[in-house]
């Protein structure tokens, strides 16, 4: 076991898979000699050579096309989109192409591609770097969307994503890259895609969260405990497909739910998840399911992040509403 930050765990996962499978290729803008703008691919080109870890021209759509084409030749591409706000340039390659490849070829071809991209607020990035756009991809059949919140899960989920024979979009929250360290095994291990994790057990209310909001929810749960409210915190870890089994088990125990996401209220995945939960568990609910989200504006100018991004105080407020309904 080693103490690693999330970014170190991500690098380690790529190193493990580059070693484990000669078909794994890592590429994107500045991921080669530079080691990535966040150092996520640091040292990988030196260790595995330019044939395996390489820079691309500055063109996201082209990067998506390269990934699809390389998959046709039996490679296992792990392309990087420098910031997920730039996904609009490559929406066709992800949602219009790789997500559909297995289906459109009747199973003749598949796209074992893992698209890595940083996102997320709280670090004062310039425009279109921090936007939470997971909701866009989560609506596309054929692609899975994974968002880890700890170093341990980042490594295990990224190894699973790379080994998955269908496309996975792997979103890395920038604020979580170096904000804390966690225990990470040195060898290869996997965390199953499509499985949520109960981060804290509780009996009065279920907090459903992912990404940085997992940590805000845990902080809120601590405060709520002081008031005698026991909150269960579930980290979705995969936002498409969602693990309803784990969610429903918790809902049937607590009978109250608050959904927490960093994305705007009209975005993210809250709407879809809440709809499923009420269809399957309405008779177990003591109160409506409420949401903690960002307001429905364009992502905040960086100086306004503090007032705009949802935080643990918003969560405490919402939980109290649900408890006192």
């Amino acid at each position: 076991m080693a103490q690693m930050t999330m970014i170190q765990a991500i690098t380690d996962a790529m190193r493990v898979e580059l070693k484990n499978d000669e078909n794994v290729l890592v590429f994107g803008e500045d991921v080669g000699q530079n080691g990535g703008v966040f150092r996520a691919t640091e040292g990988l080109q030196d260790e595995f050579g330019e044939d395996r870890v390489f820079d691309t021209p500055l063109a996201e759509s082209g990067i998506g096309g390269l990934a699809i084409g390389l998959a046709m030749e039996g490679f296992r591409p792990v392309p990087e989109i420098q910031f997920f706000g730039f996904v609009y340039e490559v929406m066709d390659s992800i949602s219009g192409q790789m997500a559909r490849l297995r289906y459109r070829s009747g199973g003749h071809y598949n796209a074992p591609i893992t698209v890595r991209a940083p996102f997320g607020g709280g670090v004062h990035t310039p425009e279109l770097h921090a936007d939470s756009l997971e909701g866009l991809i989560a609506q596309q059949p054929g692609v899975k969307v994974v968002i880890p919140s700890t170093p341990y899960e980042a490594k295990g989920l990224l190894i699973s994503a790379i080994r998955d024979n269908d496309p996975v979009v792997f979103l890395e929250h920038m604020k979580l890259y170096r904000s804390f360290r966690g225990e990470v095994p040195e060898d290869a291990y996997t965390v199953e895609i499509g499985k949520a994790d109960v981060k804290r057990e509780g009996s009065d209310v279920t907090l459903l969260a992912y990404g940085a909001m997992v940590h805000s929810s845990l902080k809120a749960a601590e405060e709520l405990e002081k008031d005698g409210i026991s909150a269960e915190v579930i980290d979705l870890r995969t936002v498409s497909p969602v693990d309803y089994e784990t969610i429903l088990k918790s809902v049937k125990k607590t009978n109250r739910v608050v959904f927490v996401q960093e994305a705007q209220r009209q975005a993210g995945i809250a709407g879809q998840v809440i709809s499923e939960v009420q269809e399957r568990a309405i008779l177990h609910l003591e109160a409506p399911i409420l949401r903690v989200t960002a307001p429905d504006t364009v992502y905040a100018f960086s100086d306004a992040e503090e007032v705009w991004l949802p935080d643990h105080k918003d969560i405490v407020e919402r939980v109290n509403e649900v408890i006192n309904f």
Binding site: L66, Y103, R104, N110
Partner: protein
């Protein structure tokens, strides 16, 4: 200040081997094809012309679905495909079904693609190709990737792709040729300039005099070819293929061609945007007429040969449409099964629901 536009345009003179009367105008570049190969080329062009006529008729009868006519483009489509090896990889656009057929895609599957059935896209292993791409330009960025893959695997093969004149305005068109250039990947990019993108003439796509000169932006080789001249298209593709497998990188080939029919069979009416004079002018350049004259001059082709091909094509088409119509109907559970290697829970649930419906 230096003005360079004229200098650049002068670099892209049209490459031609046969003129409109089937005379060799360029002996040096006459490709080295045996008599049998020449006859096979003609056979394929005649067959494909009949396939186009029959496909239009079958579409009108409602026995085919989506269909983009190909008449006029036989030299461009088949001359380029004839220069390929079996292990080369084709990334076609939606009008490029003939190349797939001559690469080995069974005709009934091409018809199933038209009708909208997944089995039409389940290619035999020896046909290394993706199914016709509907998103114009996407095949270009993907081709750069396939070509890079071939290079990494050390294969002596190429990836070839096709788009139209309108497609050269897309971002993916530029990104595709630029990426392939940056990696010196073995790709052949063909632009079939049939002068119209639905109703929009090529002059409204760009101020560039040729489309071949767009290769300059990627720093790669560009050739403008008479796309009604099957020997010129073959020679240009062969040249590009040899460069590519020798590690010299990609080539952009513009074929000057014409579609005699509408854009697609989905309600397009070319009389709204094309004049009769223009149609007539291009009919003079019909690739079949010109090549037929050339072969007749060499005593390699007769009316009898031609009629034999026509009958053979009609017979094959009849059988293929029947086979397509006998294909079992698609079920929702089939569609669900082709989504992922392992079905996620929500799709397992939906599969059970549809299984119950389907067993009723």
């Amino acid at each position: 200040m230096k003005q360079v536009l004229e200098n650049i345009e002068n670099q892209f003179e049209m490459f031609q081997v046969l003129d409109e009367n089937g005379k060799v105008v360029n002996k040096n570049d006459l490709p080295d094809l045996s008599d049998d190969e020449l006859k096979e080329l003609m056979r394929r062009m005649v067959y494909t012309r009949i396939l186009d006529q029959r496909s239009i008729a079958l579409n009108r009868q409602g026995r085919l679905g989506f269909y983009a006519p190909t008449a006029g483009q036989e030299a461009s489509q088949l001359g380029s495909q004839f220069a390929l090896e079996q292990d080369d990889f084709i990334l076609p656009g939606y009008r490029d079904v003939p190349q797939l057929i001559w690469q080995g895609l069974p005709l009934y599957q091409a018809f199933l693609f038209s009708k909208g059935h997944f089995h039409g896209n389940q290619y035999p292993d020896e046909v290394r190709a993706l199914s016709p791409q509907i998103i114009i330009g996407a095949q270009y960025v993907q081709t750069a990737g396939v070509a890079l893959g071939l290079k990494k695997r050390g294969k002596k093969n190429v990836a070839i792709t096709y788009t139209g004149d309108g497609g050269t305005s897309q971002g993916d068109f530029y990104e595709g040729i630029n990426n392939a250039g940056a990696y010196k990947a073995p790709a052949i990019f063909v632009v079939q300039n049939n002068r119209f993108a639905i109703s929009v003439p090529v002059e409204k796509q760009t101020n560039a005099k040729t489309l071949a000169q767009k290769a300059v932006a990627a720093g790669i080789e560009g050739i403008q070819v008479d796309g009604m001249d099957v020997l010129a298209v073959y020679a240009a593709t062969k040249f590009a293929r040899e460069r590519a497998v020798a590690g010299e990188g990609p080539t952009l080939i513009e074929t000057l061609t014409y579609r005699f029919g509408p854009h697609t069979m989905s309600g397009d009416d070319p009389t709204r945007y094309r004049t009769e004079e223009l149609d007539k002018e291009w009919e003079q350049k019909d690739p079949l007429v010109r090549f037929r004259k050339y072969l007749e001059g060499k005593k390699l082709w007769s009316e009898e040969d031609e009629n034999k091909v026509i009958e053979e094509a009609k017979e094959d088409i009849k059988k293929a449409i029947k086979q397509a119509e006998q294909q079992p109907k698609q079920k929702v559970t089939d569609l669900i099964n082709h989504m992922y290697e392992e079905l996620p829970t929500h799709l397992q649930e939906q599969k059970e629901i549809y299984e119950a419906k389907e067993s009723k």
